[in-house]
Symmetry: C2
Subunit: 259 residues, 2 copies
C-alpha cells in the first residue's frame, strides 16, 4: 500500500529513511527548501514575487516556527527532509539529516515548487522526459536572462532542459502551462544561444541528456535559481535540501493546476 | 486614438484626470493599491502568499521607492493614481489626489490584481457581467471562509458575486481559471448559505445585482479582502486607492493568462 506523505515524513523524522524522495508518495507535490535568517526574508520574498517562474513559492514559515501550515500542517521542516545542506557565508559546512542545531527563533523556511510535479504531468501526457529515461540528473544551465532584482538579491535565471520531439512541443507548452506554481510554461524553445548558452553539451549543473534528430531543446525556469541567487549574498547561515532530498507535502500535484 | 497607460498616468500626475479608471486604456491591467509602513510588510507579504485568490500580488515596491518596477517602470505610486484614501489607526483620514505628504522612506506599496481583467475576459467570451450591464458596483459579501492567517493578519475572505446563466457556468469557470493572478477561478458556485451569506439581497459592500430565474450566483475572491484584513490591525498609516480609482499598469490583461 502506498504510504501517505505524513507517514513517510514520520519515518524520515525517526531516521528510518534518508534516501532521495523521487518516486515517494506518487501524486503528492514535493518542494525545494531554502532556510534563511529573518533579516533576509523581506527581500527574498519580494525576489520570489518578482520571479515566479524560477521561484514559485508554495509556503513560507513564520519566524522560528518550523511548521509549513499551508502545505503540510503538523510537519516540521527541521527534521522532515531526509538530507540538508548547511552553508555559512556561502561555504558548504556539511550535510545533515536534521537541522535542529542550526534552527533559531530567527529562522524562516521557504518552500518552492519542484519540477517533479510538471514532469509527472508531461509523462502522463505521453511526452518523454529524457533524464528520467536515461536515469541521470536534469541538465541545468546559467542563462543571460537576468531575474528582476529585489534589494540585495539579483542574478541570472538558471534553466533546466528537456529535449522534446518537434511534433509535441506545443503539447508540452500546454501541459506545463497548467502548473504555474511549479515553474509553469517553458521560458525558451529552440536555439540555446538565444538565452546565452554557448555549449548545450556542457550543462553548468546536472548531466547532459541525449537530443535526438527530431527533437528541440526546451528550457524551463529552474528551482536552483533562488538558491544560487541567495548564495551570492553569502548569508551568515543558509540551509537547503540536499539535491534530490525534497520535502514531501500533503498537497496533490493536481492542487497546483489552474485548469 | 487610445492613450497608453504612461500617457494617462502622466495626465493623472499633472492633475488633468482624477476620475474612475474603468474603461481607461482597454487591454491593460489595472491594480488595487495598499501602502503600508515597512514593519507590516513581511507579515502582509506572507498573508498574500498564503491567500493568492483574494490577494494576487502583481508587484511590491521596495521601502521608500515609489516605482513599481515590474508592472510599470518609471511610474510613481504616490501620484499616478487619480484618488487615494488615507487611514490612520483604521480611521479614514480623507481622500487625496496624491500621497506625497504621507510617503516616507519606510513606506511600501503592494499592487494587487483587479477583477477588471477577468471581467473583460468574461465579456469577451459572451458571458454577461450583470453589475456592468446594470451600471452599479459589484455586490460583495463577507463569508465564513477564513483566510490562512499570517502573523498579525487574519480574517474572513470577502467575495464578489456575478449571476451566471446555468448553461455557461462551466465556461465562466474555464475563462476565469486562465487568470490566476487576478483572482482566478470562482471560490463557490450556488447556495450562498454554504459560505455563510445569510441574505444574498443584502451585500456587505457594493450594490445588489439582479439574478434571473435561469441563473446561478457565482462567487469570486475579492480584492477588498486584503484591505479589510490590513485595516483590522489598525496600522499607524495605511493608504489605498479610492474605490474605482485604480493604478493603470503597463501590463496587458493577457500577460496574466496562463494558457
Amino acid at each position: 500500500m502506498t504510504e501517505l506523505p505524513k507517514e513517510v515524513r514520520q519515518k524520515i523524522r525517526e531516521g528510518l529513511f534518508n534516501g532521495q524522495t523521487s518516486g515517494q508518495c506518487p501524486g503528492y507535490a514535493q518542494a525545494n527548501l531554502v532556510v534563511l535568517p529573518m533579516h533576509y526574508a523581506l527581500d527574498f520574498l519580494i525576489f520570489c514575487q518578482r520571479n515566479p517562474k524560477p521561484c514559485p513559492l508554495l509556503d513560507v514559515t513564520e519566524p522560528g516556527n518550523p511548521e509549513p501550515k499551508l502545505i503540510a500542517p503538523g510537519a516540521d521542516i527541521t527534521c522532515d527532509l531526509p538530507k540538508y545542506r548547511v552553508y555559512e557565508k556561502g561555504e558548504l559546512k556539511g550535510e545533515f539529516t536534521d537541522i535542529k542545531d542550526y534552527w533559531t527563533k530567527d529562522m524562516m523556511g521557504f518552500l518552492l515548487g519542484c519540477s517533479f510535479t510538471f514532469e509527472k504531468a508531461l509523462i502522463g501526457a505521453g511526452i518523454p522526459v529524457r533524464h528520467i529515461e536515461e536515469k541521470h540528473n536534469v541538465p541545468m544551465y546559467i542563462t543571460n536572462i537576468e531575474c528582476s532584482p529585489a534589494g540585495m538579491f539579483h542574478g541570472p535565471m538558471v534553466v533546466s532542459m528537456r529535449p522534446i520531439p518537434k511534433e509535441i512541443v506545443v503539447r508540452a507548452v500546454q501541459v506545463t502551462s497548467r502548473f504555474p506554481q511549479v515553474h509553469g510554461a517553458p521560458v525558451h524553445i529552440g536555439d540555446p544561444e538565444d538565452i546565452g548558452i554557448k555549449d548545450i553539451s556542457k550543462p553548468d549543473f546536472g548531466d547532459m541528456s541525449t537530443i535526438y534528430n527530431n527533437e528541440v531543446p526546451v528550457f524551463w525556469a529552474c528551482g536552483v535559481t533562488p538558491q544560487a541567487v541567495a548564495m551570492k549574498v553569502r548569508p551568515d547561515v543558509m540551509i537547503t535540501h540536499a539535491p534530490g532530498h525534497m520535502f514531501i507535502s500533503d498537497k496533490k500535484d493536481e492542487d497546483y493546476s489552474v485548469l
